[in-house]
């Protein structure tokens, strides 16, 4: 049970970072931390005691494999997380070139 609790606490740390930080790069870093906790939770669900990695060896078939379905979902999610983070970084560098600061309060005051 303890890995599940640690996973939740990591998610809450990321959420606290997104809500209270004013620097844009810190917000992007906290979003990345929230995604990492989600991947860890999915991999924890699919684990079976005494199982081996889900690669079939035709010479000696094994009785118990680890569940491959959550691993397939996380595989897709990791690459999509990379695409989202890259797009967020493109927006951040564009904002920095225009306003000269990373702070969201000052950008709100300077706009217009």
């Amino acid at each position: 049970m303890i890995p599940y609790i640690m996973c939740f606490i990591l998610f809450l740390v990321g959420l606290y970072g997104v809500i209270t930080r004013r620097n844009l790069v810190k917000i992007a870093v906290s979003l990345s931390i929230m995604e990492i906790s989600t991947f860890l939770f999915f991999a924890l669900i699919g684990y079976i005691d005494g199982g081996v990695a889900p690669i079939v060896d035709p010479a000696d078939p094994v009785k118990t494999y680890v569940d491959p379905l959550p691993q397939a979902l996380v595989l897709t999610a990791i690459v999509i997380g990379l695409a989202t983070t890259a797009m967020l970084m493109a927006v951040i560098i564009r904002l920095y070139r225009k306003y000269g600061t990373f702070d969201i309060r000052e950008i709100k005051n300077l706009r217009g």
Binding site: C7, F8, F39, G46, P54, I55, V56, D67, F102
Partner: protein
């Protein structure tokens, strides 16, 4: 195995706390990369080698892009005093965290003990999968054969993200 997982996730929490509160932006970005690399060790302990390979290369690319953005600027977080906006956001964060903790405490009773999951779909995907799809790697068989729609959706999302990046980072319009 549970002890090793608990220690590594505890260190991940410490790294995440440092990444949020660091004064220098480059240190914060590198701490985010280190949390991602610790996830690779967790994946290897949970017998998922496919995920470990993907996470290690994707985390390297994320680190490269973030450092390319941070090195361009003054690299420091301007620390200013707490004003009313800061107090409101801190109180909001506390309220949301307390509500979420209550819901986690209620739903953790329904989770199975780590390692003895009772998902019924696991047997249907594992038995006969090597014969039905013909591949020795069960995760590839599930990703491309049993759940092919998700893979097609992910390929389309990647193309859309590239289109978005190309549009945002374009300076000169056509005359």
């Amino acid at each position: 195995m549970e002890i090793a997982l608990s220690i590594i996730t505890g260190l991940m929490i410490l790294g995440a706390l440092y990444a949020i509160h660091a004064k220098d932006l480059l240190s914060s970005v590198i701490a985010c990369g280190i949390v991602g690399y610790s996830l690779v060790i967790c994946f290897l302990l949970l017998k998922a080698p496919d995920l470990a390979i993907v996470q290690i290369v994707v985390d390297t690319i994320t680190l490269i892009i973030m450092v390319a953005v941070v090195l361009d600027s003054s690299r420091e977080e301007q620390f200013s005093k707490l004003d009313t906006g800061g107090y409101i956001s801190a109180v909001t964060a506390m309220v949301i965290i307390v509500v979420l903790l209550y819901f986690f405490a209620v739903s953790i009773q329904n989770l199975d003990v780590l390692g003895k999951s009772t998902l019924r779909m696991a047997e249907h995907y594992i038995e006969g999968a090597a014969q039905k799809t013909g591949s020795a790697n069960l995760v590839t068989g599930v990703v491309f054969d049993f759940r092919g729609y998700d893979t097609m959706g992910e390929a389309v999302v990647l193309v859309t993200a590239v289109l978005g990046v190309l549009t945002i980072l374009r300076l000169k319009g056509k005359k």
